[in-house]
């Protein structure tokens, strides 16, 4: 294809020459930075303790990172739990102001106070997640053996299966996965990544908006600029231009998604370090039966986000070609994003399952928690596998439709 690289480069230039794209990108990056800084520099309050001492958020963050990183690599077994509990009890001895024994609320306050002072707060938080529904969670947390803790984790997972309305076959699939999880868990300091995972859904949403603003005019603005007739009458004006536009749009979408997610992730790594990446996923996603590391999960998430960026870009460009009006494209795509906010309860069965895989609902946590499976040819496929195939197939289907539409395009309007 003669001169394709020039056409591709110029299509990228056309997309990036829009001021709105840059304004939105800068705005997004500022929000990301502010959001990250807010983890360590909230301006409104210091951390105060029952002994009257206090810490600035920055001091707290430095202390937490130092103490938690010292505990990284420890296996959460009986020996470790015993030592941690002894440390906590010894710390609380003689500190009457804590009233540790007086009430469950007092115990809660005391354990958290000691945990923060001793650097156990991440681990206590991890244990507490499994006992949150108990009548006396702190008692369980301070008394249960490691075996009891892991059994509780499994029971909570079974509860989630029941809430998802899983069939026995589906439950068995996940039980087998859960059986493969290495226990005891090895602790790693992954607080930052946990923060990142809570943010990935709004970040992907923001990237979608950025993609819509960037690509809504890819085809339609040729009409606005009145360049469509001239382009279509040239040798490379049909298929090569269409291919260059689609490729340029997909590239911009992937780069924008990369900047938004990568920018945030980079900020997280700079703030909290990268040690948590080697930790087990269950350190940051409660009860998950997935036997993968946090780093592997993030790779999966990034990969999916990129596929989604391409799909969303192609849909946007398809609309741009069909509607031939940037504002209409933006209206439709924002509508799609808004409708995507709503979820359908699990009780609606297959409808709910299909809806849960919609591209606009993607977040690592939501897909990891989607236990319903699709059976095909006697094999079971999880949400990542099904959605991955659907997203790629959807993208591949859109390309020839856009090509066909562009090939048949006629210039009928008079100006």
């Amino acid at each position: 294809m003669n001169n394709f690289s020039i056409l591709y480069r110029i299509e990228i230039k056309k997309i990036l020459s829009k001021k709105s794209v840059w304004i939105m990108l800068v705005l997004g990056m500022v929000l990301i930075i502010v959001s990250e800084l807010s983890n360590i520099l909230p301006l409104n309050q210091n951390y105060t303790y029952p002994d009257g001492s206090s810490m600035t958020p920055a001091q707290f963050y430095h202390k937490e990172r130092k103490t938690c990183e010292e505990l990284s690599g420890k296996r959460l077994d009986d020996a470790f739990l015993k030592k941690m509990r002894e440390d906590i009890r010894n710390f609380l001895k003689g500190k009457e102001y804590i009233h540790y024994r007086d009430s469950d609320a007092g115990k809660y306050q005391g354990v958290w106070y000691a945990a923060e002072k001793l650097g156990y707060e991440n681990i206590i938080s991890l244990l507490y997640n499994q006992y949150g529904e108990e009548k006396f969670p702190i008692d369980c947390l301070m008394e249960d053996s490691a075996k009891q803790y892991y059994r509780r984790m499994r029971e909570n997972l079974e509860t989630e299966f029941a809430q998802s309305g899983l069939t026995e076959k589906e439950s068995e699939y996940w039980r087998q996965k859960a059986d493969q999880l290495k226990k005891p868990i090895t602790y790693e300091y992954a607080h930052g990544i946990q923060t990142f995972l809570q943010m990935d859904s709004p970040l992907i949403w923001f990237a979608f908006l950025l993609i819509v603003v960037s690509l809504a005019g890819v085809f339609s603005e040729e009409t606005v600029h009145r360049t469509d007739a001239m382009i279509l009458s040239t040798k490379n004006g049909r298929e090569p231009v269409c291919a260059a536009k689609l490729l340029a749009g997909a590239t911009v979408a992937v780069v924008e998604m990369g900047i938004v997610l990568g920018g945030n992730f980079g900020a997280v790594l700079l703030t909290f370090g990268s040690k948590g990446l080697r930790g087990a996923l269950m350190l940051v996603v409660q009860n998950t039966p997935w036997d993968i590391t946090i780093g592997q999960a993030l790779k999966l998430s990034f990969g999916f986000s990129m596929i989604l960026a391409i799909l969303f870009a192609l849909v946007t460009m398809f609309l741009s070609q069909r509607l031939n009006n940037s504002l209409s494209v933006m209206a439709v795509q924002v509508g799609v994003l808004l409708v995507g906010i709503f979820s359908i309860p699990a009780s609606y069965g297959i409808l709910s399952q299909i809806w849960s895989l919609r591209p606009t609902a993607f977040s690592l946590r939501s897909f990891l928690a989607e236990y319903r499976l699709v059976e095909l040819g006697g094999r079971l496929f999880n949400a990542f596998q099904v959605a991955g195939v659907l997203y790629v197939a959807g993208s591949l289907l859109i390309v020839p439709i856009v090509f066909l539409g562009y090939k048949k395009m006629q210039i009928e309007k008079n100006f």
Binding site: M230, L232, S233, T234, K235, N236, G237, R238, E412, F415
Partner: protein, 234 residues
């Protein structure tokens, strides 16, 4: 080398914008005259392959036959649409480079050709300035440059003199006359003086049909007077 139109018709909601036009056009300058709404632009678009005729066909013949919808046909075509469009933030040079890529011109040749044409249309000094800073006449000259970038055998110019000052019009007419020596040039206009001195053949269009098709020399009198005679009060 000839451009053939066979029963070319374009119908919009039952109304025929172009009605069964058949003609053969040989190299030289053809002036297409007609009032607004006569069907000139619709016909031009069909000749350029960007508007499909409801009936009939357009093809180019020089040994092999090339249909207007084919890539090979577009390769020998140069088109300046009515109301020439551009990208405001592109420089004149960027724009021509882009058009050269669209026309499939090899890079080195494209670079040389762009420089030549910028000089020819007197835009060399502002080649690196953004098109949005150009005057109407400068934009039109850029449009003309892009139309002839690929040394086309068929050149379609739809109202090309709009926005040009008298001096530029003269320069432009000379350029068209030169191009008409080797190519088929169809120049659509409603300004008779634009084609009077350079057209070898005049086509007059009214209600989607040719009402006159003849050589300029055959008219035997002032073209403007003849035009007014043919079109009456339009």
């Amino acid at each position: 080398m000839e451009l053939v139109l066979e029963g070319v018709t374009k119908e919009y909601s039952g109304k025929k914008a172009v009605n069964g036009i058949s003609t053969t056009i040989k190299p030289g300058v053809v002036g297409l005259l007609g009032a607004n709404g006569a069907g000139k632009t619709t016909l031009m678009r069909m000749i350029c392959g960007i508007l499909k005729p409801t009936d009939g066909k357009v093809f180019f013949q020089e040994g092999e036959k090339l249909e207007a919808s084919e890539e090979m046909y577009r390769d020998i075509l140069g088109y300046l649409p009515q109301d020439f469009g551009y990208y405001p933030n592109f420089t004149g040079k960027d724009f021509l480079t882009y058009m050269a890529a669209l026309k499939g011109i090899e890079r080195k040749r494209a670079k040389r050709k762009c420089q030549e044409l910028l000089k020819m249309v007197n835009l060399e000094a502002v080649a690196n300035k953004k098109i949005k800073t150009y005057s109407g006449g400068m934009k039109q000259r850029l449009g003309i440059a892009q139309a002839v970038l690929n040394d086309p055998k068929i050149i379609i110019l739809d109202e090309p003199t709009a926005g040009l000052d008298p001096k530029e019009r003269v320069r432009f007419r000379n350029l068209i006359a030169e191009l008409g020596k080797d190519s088929i040039v169809i120049l659509s206009t409603h300004i008779v003086s634009d084609v009077e001195s350079i057209a070898d053949r005049i086509l007059m269009m009214q209600n989607g049909q040719f009402i006159f098709d003849g050589k300029t020399a055959e008219i035997g009198k002032d073209l403007e007077a003849f035009y007014l005679e043919e079109f009456g009060d339009e």
